[in-house]
Amino acid sequence: MGRFIARRIVAGISLLFVITSAAYFLLYLSGGDVARNLLGPTATDAQVAAKATELGLDQPLLTRYWDWLSGALTGDFGNSWASRAPVTELLSGRVAVTLTIVVAAVIVSGIGAVILGSLASSRGGWVDRTIQVASLVGAAVPGFLIAMVLVLVVAINLGWFEPTGYINPSTSITGWLSTAVLPITALAVAGVAGVTQQVRGSMLDERRKDYVRTLECRGLSSRTITYQHVLRNASGPALNVLALMFVAMLGGAVVVEQVFSIPGLGKLTVTSTLSSDVPVIMGIVVVTVVLVVILNLLIDLLQAWLNPKVRLS
């Protein structure tokens, strides 16, 4: 078990290193004359040169990369080109906002998918068909469209929730709910739909296995077999899909945050993209990959807990 975790951590760190290095070189190599872009066409050559020195752009790329990497290891990602504020400061508050919403959406997806998927696979008939069609449509419709429909219908027309803005859960739980329920729903629809299909499919596969028949013959009720045996063995592939959904939701959050005007990572991504603020974008890439690596590690641990073959090898 210890070696299993160690291997996964090493794999995660290598992933983080390779992706961030690749991103660094791609972003800085293709960036053009950054100093001139920042100062605009009216700047003199001397001003541009001074700006370049100020940003450290006159150094060779490898030196800059080394500086960035050694800084990043201590949690220093440099300063934003646009606002001069430290990147870490810009990121810190926003990561929590986005992560709260995305993690809530992942949890909702997991729970919803287990309920719907096991219902569809064990009931059959019209229950199964309804859930299947709903999950197909839910997976097909882009999340930000759902977000806009929710803003229009639930927030503006019905007035049940706030159409825009965000309140921290530490400030007020009800306030948080009034601002977060709609974005979480918008993200979770695709999650529930996608994971439901997987849960349903692998539960049907699992149900055909020999041990299910033997457990039936030992007198266990079909409810016990479905929820304690079939579902547990089917949860491995479903967890993998849930992990992919987390990655997709981090991306989806960018657009959904824009719809609901939520001050999260997504909004920061959009503004720093528009201003070509490469240090901030690098910081966002690092944070995103770290989140994905941590989540994958958690999923691996959950898999090992569920599956003794993984745990004991």
Partner: protein
């Protein structure tokens, strides 16, 4: 030199045509394909059919409601919404196509190479795939946009690269699966080059799953493209659905209907693409949700059951499939009685219906199978399906053929043994544990405490079968059904397990049905034997009389074949046990 089973190009085209036809035969598939076709046509002829001005701002006609001049109204700049919707179709479809072509080209080619050659290719490409899968595509596209600027086509190329692992994984898994199939080996030994083998034999295998995946990816590409444009990250000069959504969102309080049309277009194409993929998958698999059907057993009154019989089967018929045309009868007119303490051997080749008979008695027929006539009586009384389900794990028990696959891999042996005792016999945890230890000792397991804490993959097949026997006798059943209980075991273990079964049967006075193809097992343990062929019993009688004077030609054939087989098998092994190498 041609390979033996090379599909001819013509066969492949026919296959493809029939795939399309079978999708069109499904109503949903046909509708979805028509919707996609409509979008493609609009994308091509769009500029020639627009009813109004999609480009120029008319400040005197902003935000007009739908009317005769403007069928869908006008946007905040006074431009005709329907015309913009039509024009935007082209960029969406083109963008999706670019992403799809890039993703397929990268994913399929790397997947073919990695799956066919394995080794280093596999390590490198699989690592690359895991890199891309860890990245949210929207974040990558935005990061890329900060350096390459607002270019939709480049964004779609990059998106194609990011999603290429979907094609890679699919192709890799499929190719690695068929890599060592006989026909690929045959093609290789017949001297075909690797390139031609991949082209002719392997590409045809991955075609269908790739089409399904492609439909899904096209949908995601269209959605992500719209997302980018909605954020205002797209090319301002292009008319796009995402851009229209952005315009509409700005005017959400004044004219919310503006959001409806691009939303409708996006939802329609996304759902159509998903439905096509799903229909294709259904057509290719045709399995999914076959549910266990309710039986239509006849009214019980007509059957005479001998008093004191432990298990009686009368005129049993088992069939699969609901429609008359596809219905397959696998067991017909099967009748037999087993008295308490008696052992019946149900003998026949695979496919003779012996296991189906056993499953019917236990009411555990696989999906689609059901009893279509006849009845099963327990303890002299004709049972309903619900009654038999209730007796499972109480008065009726079952020992399966393949021990390893009949234990749940996720639970310890102790947990699997004690759970039914606690649920069905209402024992406490300590009682159940003590009972399980006693049973494991009884079936000849030396170290029961340790075995209780092990998982199925940690024990041998023989040990697992002993565990299953212990579970079966836990409730001291009156009837025990054993389906080929020794077939999957090593020869030495077979004899031990058979001895154990004989002892337990005598000790508990159980009626036992042993399903087997092995007359050796019959001779060893059975009192009576019923020989099955093609779903019916062809001969039944005492073991001795059937062995000495088989009446039916099929019985004689089976006995003859087994005797020949046995002599061939036992001769060399007996010489080696004597220490004399042959």
């Amino acid at each position: 030199m041609t390979a033996p089973i090379a599909p001819t190009p013509r066969a492949v085209t026919q296959q493809r045509a029939s795939l399309l036809r079978s999708v069109l035969r499904q109503p949903l598939g046909a509708i979805a394909l028509s919707v996609i076709a409509l979008f493609v046509i609009v994308a091509i002829i769009g500029p020639w059919i627009v009813p109004g001005d999609a480009y120029t701002a008319h400040l005197d006609a902003i935000l007009l409601p739908p009317g005769t001049d403007h069928i869908l109204g006008t946007d905040p700049s006074g431009r005709d919404v329907l015309s913009r919707l039509i024009i935007a179709t082209r960029s969406s479809m083109l963008g999706a196509t670019i992403a799809l072509v890039v993703a397929a080209a990268i994913g399929i080619s790397t997947g073919l190479v990695a799956g066919y050659y394995r080794g280093w290719f596999e390590s490198i490409f699989s690592y690359g795939a895991s890199l891309f899968l860890a990245l949210p595509s929207m974040v990558v596209l935005l990061a890329a946009r900060s350096v390459i600027g607002p270019n939709l086509w480049w964004a779609m190329v990059i998106f194609g690269v990011i999603v290429s692992p979907a094609f890679y994984r699919l192709t890799f898994a499929t190719v690695a699966g068929v890599r060592h199939e006989l026909y690929v080996d045959a093609a290789r030994t017949s001297g075909l080059s690797d390139v031609r083998i991949i082209g002719r034999h392997i590409l045809s295998v991955v075609r269908a799953p790739v089409i399904i995946q492609a439909a899904g990816i096209a949908g995601v590409a269209i959605a992500i493209q719209a997302g980018l444009e909605f954020l205002g990250m797209g090319d301002a000069k292009l008319i796009t659905w995402g851009g229209m959504l952005n315009d509409g969102f700005q005017a959400i309080y004044r004219q919310p209907w503006l959001l409806l049309w691009p939303t409708l277009a996006l939802v329609l194409i996304s759902v159509a693409l998903t439905l096509v993929a799903n229909t294709l998958r259904d057509v290719l698999e045709r399995s999914s949700s076959a549910r266990r059907s309710r039986s239509s057993e006849q009214a019980p009154a007509v059957y005479t059951i001998p008093v004191g019989s432990a298990l009686s089967v009368r005129d049993l018929e088992v069939a699969y499939g609901n429609h008359k045309a596809e219905r397959a009868v696998v067991v017909r007119n099967v009748s037999f009685d087993v008295a308490p303490g008696e052992v019946l051997g149900l003998v026949g080749e695979s496919g003779s219906g012996k296991t189906q008979t056993a499953f019917a008695i236990l009411d555990v027929l696989p999906g689609g199978g059901r009893i279509t006539s006849g009845c099963v009586a327990l303890a002299g009384k004709v049972t309903t399906q619900a009654q038999r389900a209730h007796e499972r794990g109480r008065s009726v028990a079952y020992i399966p053929q393949e021990p390893m696959s009949n234990l749940d891999p996720s639970y310890t042996i102790g947990a699997q043994l004690t759970k039914p005792m606690r649920k069905c016999a209402k024992m406490t945890k300590t009682e159940a544990n003590a009972n399980a230890l006693r049973l494991l000792t009884r079936v000849g397991i030396a170290n029961p405490e340790r075995v209780m804490s092990l998982y199925p993959h940690q024990v041998s097949g023989g040990m697992a079968q002993r565990v299953l026997i212990a579970g079966a006798i836990a409730t001291e059943p009156d009837v025990l059904i054993a389906d080929e209980p020794t077939t999957a075991l090593d020869v030495t273990v077979q004899a031990e397990v058979l001895d154990l079964l004989r002892d337990l049967q005598a000790e508990l006075g159980m009626a036992m049905v042993i399903v087997t193809h092995n007359f050796g097992v019959v001779a060893d343990i059975c009192d009576r034997v019923a020989v099955m062929q093609d779903g019916s019993i062809v001969e039944t009688g005492d073991v001795e009389s059937v062995f000495d004077r088989p009446q039916h030609p099929y019985t004689r054939e089976l006995l003859g074949a087994i005797l020949d087989d046995a002599s061939v098998r036992t001769l060399p092994s007996s010489t080696t046990t004597n220490g004399v190498p042959s």
